[in-house]
């Protein structure tokens, strides 16, 4: 009652009804890989929530102060405020360590989710027209995520992060011509200076997150405007979106995913120690700790620094230092290629059409091969960043491991790419629906370059029916290929329903006969999957055990 009145007040002021109706009925495709972007979004929310709490305690300054908290070995030491407040957060602020660690774990998961999302978009061709803008925005967000991850890692002013900051400073210094100016302008002087930490802080908690929030809004606004892409299937064409509606199915699912992210973030934050800065000690330019690695998402750059041979050269009498090619060069080339990918692919293929229906990866063996190449390349670099840890765990000389990885980084990507190419060709040529079903004939057919049947054409038996609900509203339903799809909205008039159906399925005949009145359209139903059954079974057993116990104790009390 009250809700109804409140809503009426809102509607009379903002006119929310038609927007609201469309929004609630918005259809999302059901495939699970479409949730990676959402994962990243919820990691971002977890980061904002935990990060806001941390700002209440963190002091972004390198001015010296005496730490006098509960961590004994540091008590009485004069350290920077940034370091002291971070140790305080871990030892003296109740629940502070949980939030700090949860924040750091959320950051690691955040970039991971972005990368997964990127891979899904890449391998299914979701970046093609009309989605190039969102590809570029997404790339920018990936770059910003790396940047913000690194500034966050660097702010506590501990020995490990100070070392990392020094390496980045050296990398910036290595840029030809302008390197020393950029580095000293950005850091506020020669490393280390008191100017750096406040700059890292304002960038980490305000500038980059604000840009991020704007870009996320833009990313989502564009996807709402363009509507989701979808995998091929019955009824899925360039003029439809098939799946579940925002309300209620998708809302509940998405909330489940959001709470799932928070559950993982806080469980890791409480149970697995991350970045124990009190052990690393405060930064001091003359001290070092080993092993020294950055967080995983920038470790590929560190791996490249380790693997790249000792090459320094002079240009017109000026030095191009060793870190330039592996760090600045590789990073620039990587992001330029990523940004340019939609146009690179368009340049190499004649395909310029709009695509709302995705490709299965196998349909583009070359794209699969290139993606596999890049993934392997960066994976080897990631491993290379841990060469000293591997040397230690295997008791092998680190130089031998380096040499091996240098060979691997030049060869393995090609091997993996070739295999991926072959598999994609075989899948494309044959009828196997997954790797497990691949047969020798498929592989042979793939090698000989045969093309398989390709995606099935639209079923010939399509039809559209109109329905009139008891309340006088109208719906339409498409059937074909053994599947029935119901219109996402209820329409006020028959003409509206017909118009919508015409847009979605232009050539399909509409049953114009007046539909029987009062027939209630049943919603789609579905069978529970094995996971549901398994979970239900577990809960069932638990309930049975619990019930039995209770009856036993009841017996006992009665006796």
């Amino acid at each position: 009652m009250i809700t109804r009145r409140l809503y009426r007040a809102l509607d009379s002021r903002l006119g929310t009804t038609s927007v609201g109706r469309t929004a609630l009925a918005k259809v999302f495709p059901d495939h699970w890989t479409f949730m990676f972007g959402e994962l990243a979004l919820y990691c971002f929310i977890a980061l904002v929530l935990t990060g806001t709490y941390l700002t209440l305690f963190f002091e972004p300054s390198t001015s010296e102060k005496i730490y006098d908290g509960a961590y004994g070995p540091l008590a009485g030491s004069e350290v920077s405020s940034a370091y002291a407040s971070t140790v305080s957060l871990s030892f003296d602020v109740r629940a502070g360590l949980l939030i700090r660690q949860a924040h750091h774990w959320a950051a690691l998961l955040f970039v991971g989710a972005i990368v997964l999302h990127l891979l899904r978009v890449f391998f299914t061709g979701a970046f093609r027209r009309p989605r190039e803008i969102n590809w570029v925005i997404g790339m920018t967000m990936l770059a910003l995520a790396l940047l913000n991850g690194f500034t966050g890692y660097s702010m506590p002013d501990d020995l490990l992060s100070g070392t990392g900051l020094r390496i980045i400073y050296s990398v910036v210094l290595s840029i030809p011509v302008v390197g020393s100016w950029i580095a000293l302008l950005a850091f506020g002087g020669e490393f280390p200076t008191d100017a750096t930490t406040p700059r890292l802080y304002i960038s980490h908690v305000f500038i980059v997150p604000a840009i991020f929030a704007a870009l996320i809004s833009l990313h989502l606004a564009i996807i709402i405007r363009q509507k989701h892409s979808q995998f091929p299937g019955p009824g899925r064409n360039e003029r439809t979106v098939v799946g579940s509606r925002l309300w209620p199915a998708y809302t509940v699912r998405s909330l489940s995913l959001a709470t799932g992210v928070l559950a993982v973030v806080f469980a890791l934050g409480g149970l697995v120690q991350i970045n124990p800065v009190w052990i690393y000690g405060p930064f001091n330019p003359a001290q070092a700790t080993s092993p020294a690695q950055p967080d995983w998402y920038v470790a590929w750059g560190d791996g490249a620094l380790r693997l790249f041979p000792r090459i320094e050269f002079h240009v017109f009498g000026h030095l191009v230092p060793a870190p330039f090619l592996p760090a600045v060069g590789l990073g620039t080339v990587t992001f330029m290629l990523l940004y340019a990918w939609p146009w690179l692919e368009r340049w190499r293929t004649p395909d310029r059409a709009e695509h709302q229906v995705l490709e299965r990866p196998r349909e583009r063996p070359w794209r699969v091969a290139i993606g596999a190449w890049a993934l392997t390349f960066f994976a080897v670099l990631l491993v290379a960043a841990a060469d000293d840890i591997i040397a230690r765990l295997t008791a092998m000389p680190v130089t031998g491991i380096l040499r091996t990885l240098q060979i691997l980084v030049c060869t393995l990507p090609f091997v993996v790419a070739a295999v991926a190419f072959g598999v994609a060709r075989a899948l494309k040529a044959g009828t196997a629906s997954s790797l497990a079903e691949l047969t020798a004939e498929d592989v042979r057919a793939g090698l000989s370059g045969a093309d398989g049947p390709g995606p099935a054409d639209e079923a010939p038996d399509q039809s559209i029916q109109l329905w009139r609900n008891p309340d006088g509203t109208w719906r339409w339903r498409w059937s074909g290929g053994g599947e029935q799809l119901t219109s996402n909205e209820a329409y006020l008039s028959r003409d509206e329903a017909v118009a919508a159906a015409r847009i979605a399925f232009a050539g399909v005949p509409i049953d114009r006969a007046d539909p029987p009145e009062g027939v209630i359209l049943p919603g789609p139903r579905q069978e529970p999957g094995w996971g549901t059954r398994l979970a239900a079974g577990v809960v069932w057993v638990a309930l049975a055990v619990w019930g039995r116990r209770r009856s036993k104790t009841d017996d006992r009390t009665e006796v």
Partner: protein, 272 residues
């Protein structure tokens, strides 16, 4: 291969665990290498004591153990051989360190950075230490007496002098040529003091004018904190071996993202 005559090694408690201290090895891989830790170690002139070693009764347990387990490589009078460095003048600290961390006697052909439980019992080690000390010219660093020190200055000294190799977390790190600075997580205070004074293996040696006795007390006290005996150091949870961001990244993928992918997979449908 020398086989220990004695039963289970065991000074009680930490001593047993001591093996780790690892600060390198008496340095000497079995094949001859320069002998850094004992600059004075020249094969001792076989003087009046004769070929059977210092003038002690053969029934002395130190002499007996030495002849059984050490003499084949280090020589009857500690003069050294192709297979092992000279022991004259190395000092009790070095001998005690090598024996109590299980580095000596070597159990495989090659001297390894991996440390083990001590082969000899504390009494036997004491006897061997006393016996080796009789080799002329004697001298060398004595076994330091390490007591509780100031943990704050211990932390600062540790980060200045030790963390570059042994890692700020005390878990050790990789050096060149397949060698590594061992973990300190099992080292006893005495062994830490010995290693600082002796400089076993590749480790530098820190004389009293660089690190005084009070400094050693402080460092040993801080290493005790790193060993987490008070249970407060890894308060964040599972420490992942304190190996830093690399295992953290692995956990983020293998546990965190894997769990979230499973959930997403349950929430969404699969490809048809």
């Amino acid at each position: 291969m020398t086989s220990p005559p004695a039963g289970p090694a065991g000074r009680p408690g930490r001593r047993l665990l001591a093996a780790a201290a690892g600060l390198g090895l008496l340095g000497m891989p079995v094949l001859a290498e320069p002998v850094p830790s004992s600059p004075t170690a020249v094969p001792s002139p076989v003087s009046s004591t004769g070929p059977t070693g210092p003038a002690v009764p053969a029934s002395d347990p130190g002499a007996r153990l030495y002849q059984q387990s050490c003499a084949s490589c280090h020589g009857m009078t500690g003069e050294g051989s192709q297979r092992g460095p000279a022991l004259s003048g190395v000092g009790p600290a070095d001998v005690d360190f090598q024996l109590s961390t299980g580095r000596m006697p070597v159990q495989q052909e090659r001297y390894s950075d991996v440390h083990r439980d001590a082969v000899f019992s504390p009494t036997e080690i004491d006897a061997l230490v006393d016996y080796v000390a009789l080799f002329p010219p004697g001298g060398g660093p004595q076994i330091p007496v390490v007591t509780a020190g100031d943990v704050r200055s211990g932390r600062e000294l540790y980060l200045t002098y030790c963390s570059a190799c042994h890692s700020a977390a005390g878990v050790g790190a990789t050096l060149n040529n397949g060698r590594f600075a061992p973990s300190l997580l099992r080292a006893t205070p005495t062994q830490i003091g010995e290693a600082i004074r002796v400089g076993p293996g590749l480790m530098p040696q820190f004389p009293a004018n660089v690190l005084g006795d009070r400094d050693i007390d402080a460092i040993a006290t801080y290493v005790d904190v790193l060993q987490d005996d008070r249970g407060n150091l890894d308060r964040g949870g599972w420490s992942l071996g304190r190996l830093g961001p690399f295992p953290e990244g692995a956990v983020a993928w293998v546990i965190g993202l894997a769990a979230l992918l499973l959930l997403a997979r349950r929430l969404g449908s699969r490809a048809r």
